[in-house]
């Protein structure tokens, strides 16, 4: 198990390098000179040359590539074009805030989808099932950012129940209740599509599992329905569910950009949006790389969880 996991973890490095290479090629393909763009046409040729050499843009592409990748391995992702601060530092400052939001949304999605998915499959073709299927279909189609705005319209603009932006009330000391109030709407918005897809998926998995012979055997042994559903059926349905959980991770990262924009949540997504707006490409590429590595690590974690839940799987 440890051997398998460490091998999987090591595989993350070449994948990350391929992604870094892809990003590097994209940057090279971009029209125009970043130095000139940064100068905005107001600088003399001499100054543009100085910016070029400061950014290392005067080196041949291969040498630039070498510097970029060796830098990445040391955790150096270059400097922001706007603030001049190291990209890695800027990302690290915001990573925690995004982690809070993402984990909260993930937790919401898992809890709600497991409850809804099980209820829907066990009470198949009842009113409960139809309501859950309809709501989850709506959840897949509704644009999350618009849903977020609608929540703001109802709960902030009309009812004044929940704050519409930020992580905490400005000027207020630390308060758990205040933090949670700020977390509610972003969590639901980021977790919504995820919850809906997972519910649909778990429902159909559970329906398949409940038809299998071992569930029939468990029932005929006289086990209580609760034990059959939660110990025998759900545990098996959760295996593919975990894989899907991993597959959806990239979208969670993308969703964070929109959610953080709507709620002015000071995380990595909002940073990426602002950076893209300012055409601060070292910062945007840095965030995309960090997010990709997080996705790769998330998939390793999903595999580990898989082995934990399924006693038949023993990675050698």
């Amino acid at each position: 198990m440890h051997k398998y996991l460490s091998r999987r973890l090591l595989q993350v490095i070449p994948m990350a390098l391929v992604i870094a290479t892809l990003v590097f090629v994209l940057v090279q393909l971009a029209p125009g000179d970043p130095a000139a763009r940064l100068a905005g046409g107001n600088l003399s040729q001499e100054n543009i040359l100085r910016i070029r050499s400061a950014l290392g843009l005067d080196l041949p592409p291969l040498q630039q590539y070498w510097q970029w990748t060796t830098g990445l391995l040391k955790g150096d992702m270059g400097y922001s074009l706007i603030t001049g601060r190291p990209v890695a530092d800027q990302i690290m400052k915001k990573l925690g805030n995004t982690a809070v939001l993402a984990l909260s949304a993930l937790g919401f999605a898992v809890v709600v989808s497991v409850i809804a998915g099980v209820m829907s499959s066990v009470r198949r073709y009842t009113l409960v099932d139809y309501s859950i299927t309809t709501v989850s279909f709506l959840g897949i189609s509704i644009p999350a950012f618009w849903f977020g705005i609608m929540l703001v319209v109802v709960f902030s603009v009309e009812l004044h129940w929940l704050p519409s932006s930020g992580m905490a009330t400005y000027g207020m000391g630390f308060s758990v209740v205040d933090r949670l109030k700020h977390l509610i709407m972003p969590t639901i918005v980021l977790g919504l599509a995820y919850t809906a897809e997972l519910t649909r998926f778990l429902r159909s998995e559970m329906i398949d599992v409940l038809r299998t012979d071992y569930v029939l055997v468990a029932r005929s042994k006289g086990l209580s329905e609760k034990v059959v559903i939660y110990k025998h059926a759900l545990r098996n349905a959760l295996l593919p569910y975990i894989t899907v959980l991993g597959i959806f991770l990239p979208r969670l990262m993308g969703g964070a950009v929109l959610t953080e924009t709507i709620f002015a949540w000071p995380g990595m997504g909002l940073l990426a949006k602002t950076a893209a707006f300012n055409r601060d490409y070292p910062l945007v590429t840095g965030i995309a790389l960090v997010a990709s590595v997080l996705v790769l690590l998330g998939n390793v974690a999903a595999d580990a969880l898989y082995a934990y839940i399924d006693p038949r799987i023993r990675y050698e």
């Binding site: 992604i19 705005i149 990239p250 924009t261």
Partner: protein, 298 residues
């Protein structure tokens, strides 16, 4: 043996696989797929006929009138005006053009690419398959929205550019689906027969494999349209897609959200349209999938 002797055999085979009896009936009898199709038809028609629809009201999507900003519905402006005094109804109609153009063209691009790559990987196997599938893995581990942010921060994009980059970043799922379908088809005798009869690879792919993966492709294409419309709206919403004065549902939503405390109603329309369109596309896609493959129906 040459291709003439094998022709009758493979024709009957393709026919048997592709013309599943009842697919069309299943599609037409499914109220959801019909609803989706009708809603989409109405949307496409309103987008195409936008100039004629707004004519009787004497409005257009770009005229700014700072004397009548954020007005409520009236005879002239049936859905009111935005913060620059532009007619909201006209902008919604013209926004449909942007959404549908980008949705449909990027879906076509993504699915064409995905199908080509899936066919190549599945048919040639070995290192081609290996290489292409690793490319898919890489593509799937970069959060697509962040990749789009990288691209828009490096390149200038207009409507066409947006369609291209959304298409180029969303072909991976289709490639996977098509590949697995091809692997299944290769187990069926008619492909083996075509190979044995010495047909060229291109001919086998185009004449025998492609028609049989079209169903998968069609469903994927439909669902991609919804995805692309959603992504365009998202990008425009955060100010990195379609730029004003050109109307897009996404940028209308940003515009409205900035005034949400004064005119909350304006945030409802564009979002409702994105929602309706994406839902109609999903209905249609689910309907097609169920029609082609009754096993998925629950």
């Amino acid at each position: 043996m040459n291709s003439t002797t094998i022709a009758p055999l493979d024709q009957s085979q393709t026919e048997e696989v592709s013309s599943r009896p009842g697919a069309w009936q299943r599609f037409v009898r499914n109220p959801r797929s019909i609803t989706g199709a009708v809603v989409l038809l109405v949307l496409v028609l309103s987008a195409v006929l936008a100039p004629y629809i707004v004519k009787p009201f004497g409005v257009d999507p770009i005229t700014v009138n700072l004397r009548s900003i954020l007005e409520g519905p009236s005879q002239e402006h049936i859905l009111g005006t935005d913060r620059s005094g532009r007619d909201v109804f006209a902008r919604l109609l013209y926004g449909a053009r942007v959404s549908l153009t980008i949705g449909i063209s990027s879906a076509l691009l993504a699915v064409t690419l995905g199908t080509a790559i899936g066919l190549a990987a599945g048919y040639f196997g070995r290192w081609t398959d290996h290489l292409l599938m690793r490319a898919v893995d890489v593509g799937l581990s970069i959060p697509p929205f962040l990749l789009l942010l990288v691209i828009v921060s490096l390149f200038e994009v207009d409507v066409v550019g947006l369609a291209v980059i959304i298409g180029l970043t969303s072909w991976m799922d289709t490639a996977r689906l098509v590949r697995s379908k091809v692997l299944a088809l290769k187990e069926i005798a008619f492909i083996e027969a075509a190979v044995a009869s010495g047909l060229g690879s291109l001919r086998i792919i185009m004449r025998h494999l492609l028609p049989n993966v079209m169903q998968v492709t069609l469903v994927a294409a439909t669902l991609r349209v919804g995805y692309a419309i959603y992504v365009e709206a998202s990008l425009s919403f955060i100010g990195l897609g379609i730029q004003e004065p050109l109307a897009s549902w996404g940028n209308m939503l940003t515009n409205a959200y900035e005034n949400v405390w004064f005119a909350p109603l304006l945030t409802v329309y564009p979002g409702l349209l994105i929602f309706t369109t994406v839902m109609a596309v999903n209905f249609l896609g689910d309907g097609l999938r169920d029609a082609f493959d009754p096993k998925t129906q629950q």
